[in-house]
């Protein structure tokens, strides 16, 4: 049986609301990679959650309503998401592949319709579903997330990839019981 979160965390609460509203999404980005961390030392600090949604206006609209019900404010660009929050607006957002950001409870949740190099269905077919508290959270495969960051190739993606690669290498060294590059440095000082 999965452990219960000590107190209600905002993201699992939102993921639970999405599940009840039948919103299809997968967690991507750094927060997605964090689900594969094998130690707390490999968890990257981030305040954002990136959720990849299919280009489906009805799904998008269900996601917005679920966010609002859970106390998140919705933003598109620098402005609050327009009103009325209806199918027409959802169709416009989807056709422009615009990013909608949910802000609340100290958390920023990006509802993105774009994942560099991938379609939603491809990523969905290879997702893993992890338990967080009592909620099932669909997460893109680690390989897809990393490949997407490599395809996007923005400075922040390149920085993340270099850091992640080094973190995995360090984990491997520790598992083999070899001293890390850092500890060697300390010894020579």
């Amino acid at each position: 049986m999965p452990a219960k979160t000590e107190r209600l965390e905002p993201f699992p609460t939102l993921a639970g609301a999405f599940a009840r509203a039948k919103v299809r999404f997968v967690v991507i980005g750094v927060s997605g990679v964090n689900h594969y961390a094998q130690t707390a030392g490999l968890v990257f600090a981030t305040q954002d959650r990136d959720l990849f949604l299919p280009p489906d206006p009805a799904n998008e609209l269900r996601a917005w309503h679920a966010c609002r019900r859970e106390g998140f404010e919705l933003w598109c660009g620098d402005e609050p998401l327009g009103q009325p929050m209806d199918r027409v607006l959802a169709e416009q957002v989807v056709s422009r592949r615009a990013l909608v950001r949910a802000d609340g409870h100290g958390l920023l949740v990006d509802l993105t319709l774009v994942m560099a190099g991938f379609t939603f269905e491809k990523v969905w077919s290879r997702r893993r579903v992890f338990k967080v508290g009592e909620v099932n959270v669909p997460v893109a495969s680690l390989k897809d997330i990393v490949a997407s960051k490599a395809a996007a190739g923005r400075p922040k993606d390149r920085l993340f990839l270099a850091t992640h690669e080094e973190a995995l290498r360090e984990l491997g060294r520790r598992r083999r019981g070899r001293p890390s590059a850092d500890s060697k440095e300390h010894r020579h000082r």
Partner: protein, 73 residues
């Protein structure tokens, strides 16, 4: 230290970083990195159904820690 001197000191400190050329565009992943990713993804604790509650708790602790540091400085 007044604001101007503080600003000048900051400009001096950041100068080397301003001149850094940051590469952009698609990155090529090394064979070694891809092998490590495969290894992590195939670990028993990373299969569907695994409990990741600890990760959510760790994230919250990070957030709280950094919020505290920001407030204290």
């Amino acid at each position: 230290m007044d604001d101007d001197r503080e600003y000048e000191a900051l400009v001096r400190i950041l100068e080397p970083y301003r001149n850094m050329r940051i590469e952009t565009g698609p990155a090529v992943l090394s064979e070694d990195y891809l092998r490590m990713i495969e290894e992590v993804a195939s670990a028993p604790e990373n299969q569907s159904g695994a409990d990741k509650t600890w990760m959510e708790t760790a994230q919250r602790e990070f957030r709280e820690y950094f919020a505290r540091v920001a407030r204290e400085n």
